[in-house]
Symmetry: C2
Subunit: 381 residues, 2 copies
């Protein structure tokens, strides 16, 4: 099997992640933060290590600013809904995932907040930044942008957008689902107030682990309340982090595996991971570009501005059919809209979507050659 | 180690659960419902088996009515918030967990819905039912009750409360965190509209798995929206189940382990699990009752109306200190308020809470004798 759907979730996970999950199930089986016996304390310590791993990885101020959630979608919902409480309007990019668009649309339909979409100019960051500058003002409740498009890999100029946000005192939420673990995301250096992470993707944690990295002192309302093991005599959700946003029993064995996963990434080096994946997509693209019936949307050969995600189509063939033909050869790619229809509007691929290829650190050059061969035959039919 | 904190999460998990998680990590590593390649399809089928296992276990109408969530707290939040949309007031019991009280308190503080607490009479179900009957009327947006108190094990007369709900056309939400897997909960027979389950507790699934079993055709608003792999061209959350309430990547390996876990429970027999745990607590209680400095709150000897959770105190000693002393002997119990302060109001244990003992199917008689010996020495000091 050639797994090229790492933008959905990375597979396989590193051996240390497997080992960690196994160890957790046998040795860290308690519900942490609720009790004082040895296994509960050890489970709590292991969770703390994973918080610290993410704190350090994203340069957050303190471990308390690392909130775990079932997925990046929940992290995004927590801060989007939280920052909507005073009304106004959101500004997002034209490449957002439905995990951003659907909460925004809901707030709009409820009359809580409106939202405006800033167009991304893939040829000019200046124009993109201008588009944001035109829409952001004092009435903006927050700006929400993807660090990287999950369909086209396109990287947004976070720092420049963040500077506009700072000018107006507007919080910046970054959806790092596709970027975390692949490009550096220092929340303090980039001025990101809320970083939402699919820890199970580029950080190679088990599925079921997302995180919200908070780089702001602003306090806001919760969307989920419940037992936190803290302030138990109060009917009010605690106002301190991370408890405020972590109610109920957590996915402890998944979370505990974050520390070894991040450690592994640090050992390999994020730059090396990026170079490896980038070089594979460059190889892919160089050759796909030669195939007369293949349509490409971005270029890994010309640009250093892409996360390792490549979308393509074969003329006259539905993207789903291409993916199914590749699946018959045991090549795993995703086709369709990738839960991000507005990104397809931007790239004129609303009719049928795209076929998406996303490698990981475990993808081999041979996998790409084999895939090229299969695509070659398909488009040559 | 003697683990008697199974009301927090069961430990250990059955061998088949371990095996399932290991297998999932190596063979079901895809993000299901998004792609058509073999591993994605197989992952989706395994998730389906787990839905079917819960559907059948709780006698829900269809697999679509089984929604997975990170924990029981999220399941409770989904239906409490969802049913608040037309205003009115909730009615809950005086034994509720903070996973119920905190969302209700938040809705109250926001002016969305008020809530009223029906007192539980531990000596008379008739009086309990009267208390509910007095508070429920056409203006009640929903009734929320625990199937079993997580502190005192007390079982609520679900069917009788459900009948009052039906009389007024009021939906019934049941928090089955402590009861699922221990007492029969047939949603159709009991008339439960929304059953919230901590699948990682009495159903022995891995941590990170909760579920909402829906036995109602009512549709309501979401608290989380995002990518679902369905209706991807729409900015609106799908209105069909389970997608409506399942956004983003799920804890697939945890969820997949639900099917073998439920299968194991069915093999052992829920009645046998209950008898085993009940007999251990009866043994514990008979002997604790003889100890002059031990305070008990319920009686396993007199009643068949308790889930296998026993709370006690030692006169003049803080519950946390008792738990820490037991922890030194490698006995794992929880002390304090157990995230359920109103239950302590009902039992007059608000000052300091209680020490809680909760066995599992894996607890041995010898564990109870050893624990008794340690408590005996502690209270005899």
């Amino acid at each position: 099997m050639i797994y090229l759907d790492n933008a959905a979730t990375t597979y396989p996970k590193p051996k240390c992640v497997f080992k960690s999950v196994k160890k957790s199930m046998s040795r860290f089986g308690a519900n942490p933060g609720r009790s004082g016996y040895k296994m509960a304390v050890k489970t709590g310590e292991a969770i703390y290590s994973s918080r610290e791993a993410l704190r350090s990885f994203f340069n957050a101020k303190s471990v308390e600013n690392v909130v775990f959630a079932q997925n990046c979608t929940l992290a995004l919902n927590i801060c989007i809904k939280g920052l909507s409480e005073n009304g106004g309007n959101f500004v997002c990019s034209s490449l957002e995932h439905n995990a951003v668009i659907r909460p925004l649309e809901k707030l709009k339909n409820e009359g809580v907040c409106d939202y405006k979409i800033a167009g991304i100019d893939i040829n000019s960051d200046d124009k993109t930044v201008e588009n944001f500058d035109r829409l952001i003002d004092e009435k903006t409740c927050a700006v929400v942008i993807s660090a990287a498009s999950n369909v086209f890999g396109f990287l947004l100029p976070i720092k420049r957008i963040s500077q506009i946000c700072k000018k107006y005192g507007v919080p910046l939420i970054v959806d790092a689902a596709q970027a975390a673990g692949i490009i550096p995301l220092d929340v303090r250096e980039l001025g990101i107030d809320y970083l939402c992470v699919a820890v199970h993707k580029g950080l190679y944690a088990p599925v079921g682990v997302g995180a919200l990295i908070i780089n702001s002192d602003k306090n806001f309302d919760t969307i989920i309340e419940g037992g936190t093991g803290s302030n138990s005599l109060s009917a009010l959700q605690p106002d301190f982090l991370p408890d405020r946003f972590e109610s109920g029993t957590m996915n402890t064995s998944g979370i505990i595996a974050v520390a070894p996963a991040v450690n592994e990434i640090n050992k390999i080096g994020m730059g090396n991971i990026y170079s490896h994946e980038y070089s594979l997509l460059k190889l892919l693209e160089e050759n796909l570009r030669e195939m007369k019936n293949v349509i490409l949307y971005t270029s890994f050969c010309d640009s250093q501005r892409l996360a390792p995600v490549l979308s393509f189509n074969i003329k006259g063939v539905q993207s789903e059919l291409v993916a199914l033909s590749l699946a018959e050869k045991d090549i795993c790619v995703r086709a369709g809209y990738h839960c991000a229809f507005i990104a397809h509007k931007s790239f004129n691929t609303l009719e049928g979507g795209t076929v998406r290829i996303s490698p990981s650190i475990f993808t081999k050059k041979g996998d790409i050659y084999f895939t090229l061969n299969c695509i070659y035959k398909l488009q040559n039919k």
